[in-house]
Amino acid sequence: MKVLTLNFLTCAVKACKSSSDSFPLHPKEAELAKDDVEINPQLLVNVLPRIDWAALRTTSTELGFPALPEQPPTAEELEADEKMLQELHSLLMETQIMEGKLVCGHCGHEYAIREGIANFLLPSHLV
């Protein structure tokens, strides 16, 4: 699972919908892998405004990456700065969580990730 996708995931439990702690999900015991993905600057610029930067900073620290700048780059800055584009691309698109767990900060529910596929099936009492 890409780090980018993790930035959009929330807890699926009904009671967590209204809580702000249910986002972002916290990776635990994560095994990372790096995939080679062709860079697509236009896609990054397109997705950039929708990324929750604070959540991305939390995630990247939890995964053990160097700290990100406090403010997200603007679309123009990103287009102009080749290096930043490459760095963001490698963090968001190329870094994959292969094994581990995602933990909700509100209810503590653990979603298992196996072979890069997260299991979001809920037992019926949590739906």
């Binding site: 995931l9 699926a12 993905v37 929708r50 596929i117 979001f120 099936l121």
Partner: protein, 277 residues
């Protein structure tokens, strides 16, 4: 033709053998590919987008999303959800590019608000019309799905869901659930009244770059007839004139339902009295 939806749950039906059969059948591949292209045409995406694939299965439709050339606004990034582990296993073996989730769409869509540019679903949402346990109902599952989908799409986003309804009742149930969630909804039917009829539910969030209402989606497309079955102008309520016999009968009926004592209606009910000197 038998419908697998009638006998089994999606995750039970698509077991290892069925999933492999489904993915390797060249007939299914062609049909899925043509439906995905049609859905993409309806989504009208101009730049590389972030797309949710609902019921992605083995990634047949996702593959097409990743393969769109840059000249046509691709390649798109997609995230797939499916309930069948076997299907996802086949997708892993085929090394698809999108992220995969094992999830039940009837339990909602676990993404934060405004995540996706668009959503696509090929031959999946009719499964929502079946609920196999007493704790869930088709209407409830449909409502959770469409509410979740509505929230997870960005304003101005679109979703296209191709599905196989069992009958008109299912078609209506699915459409009305979508409308209730807030979508602008329309049905597009390819090859209507043939054996190969394909039904696409086209959904918009906000104005979605469409002029006017949902019929604006197909504006400028060749060979599309617009049939508007929405009610126009005054309906039902306004037609009964106050003081008329129908109005009196309606009022009497209402009172009776409230438990009041109401005189029996006869042919004289609501008639004018003769003029008395």
């Amino acid at each position: 033709m038998s419908r697998p939806e009638d006998s089994l749950l999606a995750d039970v039906h698509y077991d290892d053998t069925e999933a492999r059969k489904y993915t390797t059948s060249s007939r299914i591949q062609t049909i899925q590919a043509s439906m995905t292209r049609r859905a993409l045409e309806l989504l009208a995406l101009r730049s590389p987008s972030f797309i949710l694939d609902i019921g992605c299965g083995s990634g047949l439709s996702g593959e097409i999303l990743s393969d769109i050339p840059a000249s046509e606004g691709g390649p798109h990034l997609w995230v797939g959800m499916d309930i069948s582990p076997s299907m996802l296993d086949v997708a892993l073996q085929r090394d698809v590019e999108g992220d995969l989730f094992l999830a039940d769409i009837g339990q909602g869509v676990p993404f934060r608000a405004g995540s996706f540019d668009a959503a696509i679903s090929i031959s999946a949402i009719q499964w929502l019309c079946n609920a196999e346990s007493s704790e869930t109902s088709p209407a409830g599952r449909l409502a959770r799905f469409f509410n979740g989908l509505y929230a997870s799409l960005k304003r101005g986003g679109r979703a296209v869901c191709q599905f196989y309804p069992k009958n008109d009742e299912q078609k209506k149930m699915i459409t009305s659930a979508a409308v209730k969630a807030g979508f602008g909804a329309g049905l597009l039917e390819d090859d209507p009244e043939t054996k190969n009829a394909k039904i696409y539910l086209v959904l918009t969030v906000g104005d979605a770059g469409v002029k006017g209402d949902i019929t604006g989606v197909v504006e400028g497309m060749d060979g599309v007839d617009v049939l508007d079955s929405r009610r126009k102008g005054k309906t039902g309520r306004g037609e009964i004139k106050k003081g008329s016999k129908a109005w009196i009968l309606k009022k009497k009926d209402q009172m009776e339902k409230k438990g009041k004592v109401v005189k029996a209606s006869s042919k004289y009910t609501g008639r004018k009295r003769r003029i008395q000197f």
